[in-house]
Symmetry: C2
Subunit: 259 residues, 2 copies
Amino acid sequence: MLSIPMTPAEVRYRCRMGLLDRSTAGLALGYVQTNVVILPSTWAFEFLLFCQRNPKACPMLDVTDVGDPEPRQIAPGADLRTDLPRYQILQDGKWTEATDIRSIWREDLVGFLIGCSFSFENAMLNAGLPVRHIEVGRNVPMYRTHLTCVPTQRFSSPLVVSMRPLPHHQVVRAVEVTSRFQHAHGSPVQIGDPDSIGIQNLEAPDYGDPVPIYANEVPVFWACGVTTQTALLHANPEFAITHAPGHMFVSDLRDECLS
Amino acid sequence: MLSIPMTPAEVRYRCRMGLLDRSTAGLALGYVQTNVVILPSTWAFEFLLFCQRNPKACPMLDVTDVGDPEPRQIAPGADLRTDLPRYQILQDGKWTEATDIRSIWREDLVGFLIGCSFSFENAMLNAGLPVRHIEVGRNVPMYRTHLTCVPTQRFSSPLVVSMRPLPHHQVVRAVEVTSRFQHAHGSPVQIGDPDSIGIQNLEAPDYGDPVPIYANEVPVFWACGVTTQTALLHANPEFAITHAPGHMFVSDLRDECLS
């Protein structure tokens, strides 16, 4: 994916003007991009509780006040209704897509902004570690595991993980580098034994694309923000909005702020 | 304070039986003790949001399901209604004390368990660093600062800090040791310049007791869980229960789990 030098505010401005309809991968490198979930206030406590109980999969970076579309902690002045390139909307049991949600915004909505792995991938690259799916221009492979999240009454999910292959001699370094990013999934959840967490076939990920694993490489697994989406699907609220896959919110936080 | 070798479960059992009416300082050393706040569910989202926005002062370790008095993440089998030595109850604008809250428990209550500085103090002692108020047998000195927490609609508070004096040559080590405990207030918020955060007189703490600062020592300030209490007082809910000062909940988590 092409890296384009834009500030976070420029990315958000282009989204707002309808001038940016693409994945945010590679945009405003070095700044934190987030998953977004927007829910009615009647669901807000329980969703925040689910994320509090499962911080490795769902690291909460900001939560808006009820009815307020501005994520004031991580991007003052931004507007969650316009500043993402693309949204998914769940209404009456059906998902649709949109590039602007001003017309369906409600005074009872709460926005949740959740860390994503882009932050620690930048740190891995800076440390000279390979990030295979970036090398080969694919989406990261993701797998449902038989590990379960700590549920709430209505939210529950298997833990979904992403996988990055690493040469044997660089596995420890990868643990060190990603451990610092506690608010972007942090340290791996498993190293080298996919079977032990219920993954049978690395070539058939449940989400994203398979990537090659070379000789002397070990598959390493990290908790993944898609867990939030599967928990949301399970709870099946009457109304919800999320970012479209890969079309994240670009915040003013620098990646290093998550460490 | 006398250190008595008991397991966390033994401490909680004695509380439950009415056999322990004292501060929990020094009990079940090495295990995480927590601040406790119990609120009606109508206040739950906003209180959790306040803590999410101010994690250094209010590190959330566990939140119970609505109506459930069992903190299942950090002490399975425990009961928040009986397992603390002493409670404070806010009802109709008045505070009272109790040693058991079974008779006033309600199906709409949510329990919040928040990290406290006992965890990093143990780590400091293990690292050979002085913890003055323990040496002199007093409560830690705490001060309101002119730093402000990120508010929610109803919760707001100045940041309250605790102070521990350290010899010049051990300040960096103290930062290193406490930084690891992100879920127990973590790294200091200020080193050596009380005036810069609005503290005029170290000998007159707003809470707790003053402690001596020796020659060549520097006052070091950490975010303090009392911030949660001042935010609660400001919001003034119609009903709330907290632990009594120093009479904490003793969990099954080991201190090292917070690092």
